[in-house]
């Protein structure tokens, strides 16, 4: 139930100030805004909140970074658990790899498709193979 509360909180934060919260809080805002998907908006809202609270974690920086990544993944997982029908109705698979970028001053999140990692990796291998063949 608490994940619902967190989702509701994040989605409320993701709405522009002049818009009211939708009745079904875990759905996408009914604004017709297609510039970002629901999970992307969630992640951006989480990033904004995180930026507001983040301070240099000191020697525990990598542990905090990992906790942030896992927490973000669980929040997006919670979103999909509430909106499973959106996956079935979508042509594309949802982005499934969430990365937390962090330093002593900032923390940020990137939500993407892991298959892109593989494709970038293959591209890199091809480039290296071409270079080696010359």
């Amino acid at each position: 139930m608490a994940v619902d509360d967190i989702l509701q909180d994040l989605l409320a934060n993701s709405l522009p100030e002049n818009k009211t919260q939708p009745a079904m809080n875990t759905d996408l805002p009914a604004s017709g805004d297609t510039s970002a998907s629901g999970p992307d908006k969630l992640v951006r809202a989480l990033e904004r909140q995180c930026s507001a609270q983040y301070t240099d974690p000191g020697p525990g920086i990598h542990f905090i970074g990992l906790l942030l990544a896992v927490f973000a993944a669980e929040i997006v997982s919670g979103y999909w658990a509430k909106n499973a029908q959106r996956i079935q109705g979508s042509e594309n698979d949802p982005a499934r790899l969430i990365s937390c970028l962090y330093s002593g001053k900032e923390a940020a999140f990137v939500l993407a498709h892991p298959t892109e990692v593989v494709s970038q990796f293959k591209h890199k291998l091809n480039v290296d193979a071409d270079k080696a063949g010359r």
């Binding site: 909140q49 240099d56 525990g60 896992v70 962090y102 892991p114 990692v117």
Partner: protein
């Protein structure tokens, strides 16, 4: 994925071409990354799922497509599920994002997280391989 990471780093850390830390900088001046996998509802009901999503080891950020020849950047600091489970369970029981983040950002890191021996995942370039 990597492009998005690169874009985000340029946006937030414009002076960081790579996450390398120069001798004049402290460790926390570098940029690091760690990943976790989003779980979908069709992956079985919640009673059968692991308690935590799959996650990677932390590593230094590097602009992969810039042709960096350095090592994978994985750190010697490693964490296990048991380290992560408690703080995440508490964060997910909070009733607001602010409270969740407060719990996470004040979590105390576990002891003995430094790996002495290299592990296979430390030698790979990417943390996850999806078919």
């Amino acid at each position: 994925m990597q492009t998005k990471l690169d874009d985000k780093v340029r946006e937030l850390w414009p002076r960081k071409v790579s996450g390398n830390v120069s001798s004049e900088e402290k460790e926390n001046d570098g940029v690091y990354t760690v990943s976790a996998v989003v779980r979908l509802p069709d992956e079985g009901d919640s009673s059968n799922r692991p308690l935590l999503p799959l996650f990677s080891c932390p590593r230094r950020y590097s602009d992969f497509l810039q042709g960096s020849r350095e090592s994978s950047g994985y750190l010697r600091e490693r964490f296990e599920e048991t380290d992560v489970l408690g703080p995440i369970a508490m964060a997910l029981k909070a009733h607001s994002v602010q409270d969740s983040l407060k719990l996470i950002l004040t979590a105390f890191p576990p002891r003995d997280t430094i790996m002495i021996e290299a592990t296979p995942e430390a030698e790979s370039t990417f943390p996850f391989y999806f078919g």
